[in-house]
Amino acid sequence: MNNSLAGSLSYRAWYMWRRNVDVSLVTWKTNVLPPLLEPVLYILAFGFGLGAYVQQISYAGRAWDYLAFMAPGMVAVGVMFHSVFDTMYGAFVRLRYQKTFDALITTPLSPEDILAGEILSGATKGLFAGAAILLVVTLFGLAQYPSSLLILPLSALAGLLFASFGLYFAALAPYIDNLNLPVFLFINPMFLFSGTFFPLDGLPAWVRLLAELLPLTHLVNITRAATLGLLSPSLGWDLLYLVLLTPAVAWLAIAKMKARLIK
């Protein structure tokens, strides 16, 4: 059997992607509304609620309205949540409970096709969420154009990364309840400490170092620069980090999940 990833991966991964997209279209109301409404809640709570107390925030050598500072963080967080949860919980349910994997493994799709398709559809959810939140942020007048358009391809890339993380966690978890652990240890800390709600400058040096390792930090950096119109060459490092990490995590997730499902 050709066990190399490249040898087993084919265009059929898109069939798995299509299947998952088709399911999302069947249940579109529950898929479309949250990414549109969640950021509105965040903007109301943090932007207006908290923003009433923290009116100006200093970032990149300038003072910004708190709402303008925070809004791009919401875009990045939305991409992360929607893609990571799609593969963590969604793929877990499909593969373990709905037996989707068992049904597909006897068709011409290889395990790699199926799992890559899972990552692609998780990334699509992330991209869709990113675009929806960007739309809301734009309607609030908080996004600069054309630089904000960069957020779309960036969300696709980050979607692939976080969907891969999600699939990896699903592969590690014997039971669905075990998934609370990566949420607690990885996803929630990223949500809080990636420069989403406040600049990292004020943090103790060691926390800042840890924050630099979190992938969301780099996504937030680029997303914020794009919405505020602050794009600069130094963001190349953030992009490089995401570009290098994504295939590594995707490969790990596929290998781990395949080993788990085919004994």
Binding site: M1, D22, T100, A103
Partner: protein
Amino acid sequence: MTDPVVKATALRKCYGDLCAVDGVDFEIGRGECFGLLGPNGAGKTTTVKMLTCALPVTGGDLTVEGLSVKEDPRAIKYLLGVCPQEVNLDPDFSVVKNLVVYSRYYDIPRAEAEKRAAELIARFHLHDKLERPVEDLSGGMKKRLLLARALINRPRLLVLDEPTTGLDPQSRRQIWQEVRDMKKNGLTTLLTTHYIEEAELLCDRLVIMDNGRIIEQGTPRQLIEKHLPGGGNLEDVFLKLTGKHLRDE
């Protein structure tokens, strides 16, 4: 046998010390309906899963149309129609959508898929439920849909793992009729079952497995004549060979 469709040689599947399939040899001839019988845990589903390339083999070899499951799983899977023991339809999709989405995996173009789906739905008497989600189907209808799904790619070899378990006599007879019709059209079939009557009725040849090994094989008639020369049925042969005690899994 000249030109067998399936050939298993010294086939093994082990989980650590436990060998679910422990050195099995058999061949399935073209157009034949081949039965795999045995008590719970005998290794039937494990054999089927190796054949359908869902499980890697531990030892020996297994070929379909001369292709080895170890070398060409994808090419083999294009040739198979698989009706699994566990229902694994897509709960989010309607009856017709289950078939259309599934046919995509075989590169069947949309229009052709819709045509085939409509034919199969009519043939398996599912037209009343066309647009219903599969969760609304009864157990028997789900099994019929599984069988319809297995035929969407016009397979060369049909693999049926307990296709009639849990069905009422009417549904069971209907599935038997389908299998016989497909046989008339020359389709090669591998069937596992616990219903000895079913095996006697449908299978040209069968093997009885126990503890991962084949303990007897032949045509239903041969087995009865060999083990019960005074007369009896296949069920008596089965019980004689595999004992009357329950299998604890």
